[in-house]
Amino acid sequence: MEMPAPNPAILARKARIVERLRAVLPADAVIAEEAETRAYECDALSAYRCPPLAVVLPRSTAEVAAALKVCHAEGVPVVPRGSGTSLAGGVLPTADCVVLGVARMNRVIEVDYANRFIRVETGRTNLSVTGAVEEDGFFYAPDPSSQLACAIAGNVAMNSGGAHCLKYGVTTNNLMGVTLVTMEGEVLEIGGAHLDAGGLDLLGVICGSEGQLGVVTEATLRILRKPEGARPVLMGFASNEVAGECVSDIIKAGVLPVAIEFMDRPCIRATEDFAHAGYPDCEALLIVEVEGSEAEIDEQLGLILQIARKHDPVELRESRSEEEAKKIWLGRKSAFGAMGQIADYMCLDGTIPVSALPYVLKRIGEMSRDYGLEVGNVFHAGDGNMHPLILYNANDPEELAKCEAFGADILKLCVEVGGCLTGEHGVGIEKRDLMVVQYAPEDMEAQMRVKDVFDPGWLLNPAKVFPLALTAARRAA
């Protein structure tokens, strides 16, 4: 992956820059030794690495602002970082950048049940937001698979989703306000405990801007009362097509499950070998979960099973206990781990119109044969957000190149059928050069204008989101 060459003038000024950062931050908040900065050289897209010039780990919004002021004055690029779980290279450093990690900022600032919100510092992990309110019966809805580790800062930057967005939406639909520190070190309050923007919806464009508009240090998040209960049902089908049709029919029938998860045969086989969840031997399976009281769940599942039966399922498995429900989810939740046992994998994230599911799965199968690389599909079928996992050998550069080409072909296919490159992981560096497949130059120009306004020097999170050739003039200015 091509990255811009580091600015030699910045590299030469390292000592002075570090000294200026140390002057405004506590001693333990600045890391400059190469042995220690190496811990920040990559995220979960670990094929690409580059130790930064320095790392700062502030403990407050004021310290974030102070660090940014120094970097701005010195013209040093800044890569804001949450927990570093990005699958898209969203926090890959450059050699001349300062990584600004918010991990030490993880306090709960306010919990307000009457107005249903929580305000947290953004270094807090996704799961521990729910952890702060669950004893009182509330939860924070967006639930990315990495929720144990990923930080709200990254969730806001990437507009993260999860398995339950069909009902509850993604991060942007659950974000009410932020404290944003600009590259100049100015602290802005945007949104809050009230609904909607009074003027332009800046919050809406900040969410999902991949840390390129400012550093989000605090967030006001919508919390919801937990439903009385939830229960999954598992269905096996003879083909991907039939499973896809069943998804469409469920949605059309007026039931709105909280989750509809899909796994194909390679994935089912791998998870069975790994997790022994007792999944049926079939081409495709769905896990559908609904919420409510016992009686409400019975009614919804009754309707869903009735629809499923019309598609000649090879298996319909209801859960009659907490134990059985856990077992249904077990395979799905260990799917990524299971695939990882077989080989290295690249996880894609394109979204397609639900109606195109059978066609896209068929084409992926054909491409898999052409490239000679295995693919497993496990994804959120209700909203069309696919996660093809391409298996390859990371130690073989030739196979990595082949895998990347295959991945790009799948994403192009997603766009071709009316979908997009990324549903919840973000563009990062991984899909940067594919942006031209989805967007015309003027579409990207419009997006880059927003960056021009917030970060005129183009210092924040360099080389992400937009193709390098498109941003060269702005970065050089």
Binding site: L195, D201, G204, C207, D249, E445
Partner: protein
């Protein structure tokens, strides 16, 4: 001017040398009075894609809202955010367009459960102030590819671009609905009761207050609605009498009235729309000295009818939220900023964004200032 399609509209904008007033159906005459040649989007009309099984609808911006609502209803679906019809309230006539709904980010009572218009909006096409046609988002409900200009365009009142096409995530219409009414309850206890209701697991999709009392809506399968009505009735018993009004039709009529703020329509005076932290509503209402108020969003949205020419913001003092003057004489809207003035740093960003998207200042210039 009434361009026939997107490319003709782009030509009109490119060729313009003086300000343009962008108009959908002309049903929302909000903002600073501005001058300029009127550009209507009404001819750029028609539903371009509707896939009920994918819960997706795409329509050109000038499509009448009524046409969208009808097409969805034929498949048992609807726009989740319950777009309001403010014609009677604002004293306007004409045909509301789907693009106008988006430009105003207009949302009804279901906003507390299903989000605002901007939350259901998944894609836009628009013509910016240079005449360039720009697309963002698409027709799938999960999409984080590039910056989210979809949200930025929603509620921008035609000041960043002229919308030409909008895409929505839609939802099925539930089988049944019911309203719980707490007759005669005052604003302060009502807001507490509404908070208890929406903080319960019983999936409240409307929480409003009018002089009739507090009103709480639940929707879903018939048995589920009956069950939740019973549970909510018990939960709210400490607040006084709780009457259950069952049935889809009764609910539709009642909530259409609440959605359109029918209680304040047709009465003389100015109309303000105030977005607040719900629990702040009672104290703010007391300070308003309004002739009448109506609350939605569990207290988070306050509609106020005030004497003509009143600067409501001066009475409210500092508060977390914003107040918009929705209906007033042009001279009042020239004197009192209809949109809440923003802190200088935020206002500077908004000004800079407008300068980038509309460098010649020709798209509804000054409307939101």
């Amino acid at each position: 001017m009434r361009p026939e399609d997107e490319s003709e509209l782009a030509e009109v904008v490119r060729g313009a040398s003086s300000p343009l007033r962008i108009r959908g159906g002309g049903t929302r005459e909000v903002g600073r009075p501005i001058s300029g040649a009127v550009v209507e989007t009404g001819a750029i009309s028609g539903i371009t894609l509707y896939e009920p099984a994918a819960l997706t609808l795409v329509a050109r911006a000038g499509t009448p809202l009524a046409e969208v609502v009808e097409a969805l209803a034929a498949e048992g679906q609807r726009l989740p955010f319950e777009p309001p019809d403010w014609r009677a309230l604002l004293g306007t006539s004409g045909e509301s367009t789907i693009g106008g709904v988006v430009a105003a980010n207009a949302s009804g009572p279901r906003r507390i459960m299903s989000g605002a218009c901007r939350d259901s909006l998944i894609g836009v096409r628009f013509v910016d102030g240079t005449g360039a046609v720009i697309k963002n988002g698409g027709r799938v409900m999960k999409n984080v590819t590039g910056y989210d200009l979809v949200k930025l365009l929603a509620g921008s009142w035609g000041t960043l671009g002229v919308l030409t096409e909008v895409s929505f995530k839609v939802l099925p219409v539930p089988e049944s609905a019911a309203t719980l009414l707490l007759p005669g309850i005052g604003v302060a206890p009502a807001v507490t009761a509404l908070a208890a209701a929406i903080g319960s697991p019983f999936e409240v999709s409307g929480a409003a207050w009018t002089e009739e009392g507090a009103q709480i809506r639940i929707e879903g399968f018939a048995a589920s609605v009956a069950y939740r009505a019973e549970r909510l009735q018990a939960l709210l018993a400490p607040f006084g009498e709780v009457v259950v009004e069952a049935g889809r039709d009764a609910s539709d009529t009642r909530w259409a009235g609440l959605r359109d703020v029918a209680g304040l329509a047709g009465r003389p005076g100015d109309i303000w729309r105030v977005s607040v932290k719900p629990s702040d509503a009672p104290a703010l209402v007391a300070r308003m000295g309004a002739e009448a108020v109506a609350l939605d969003w569990a207290g988070g949205l306050v509609w106020a009818l005030t004497e003509p020419g009143t600067d409501l913001r001066a009475r409210l003092g500092g508060f977390a939220g914003h107040a918009t003057l929705m209906r007033a004489a042009p001279e009042t809207r020239a004197r009192i900023a209809p949109f809440q003035p923003e802190p200088p740093a935020i206002a500077a960003i908004a000004t800079a964004l407008r300068a980038r998207f509309d460098p010649r200042h020709i798209l509804n210039p000054g409307l939101m200032d």
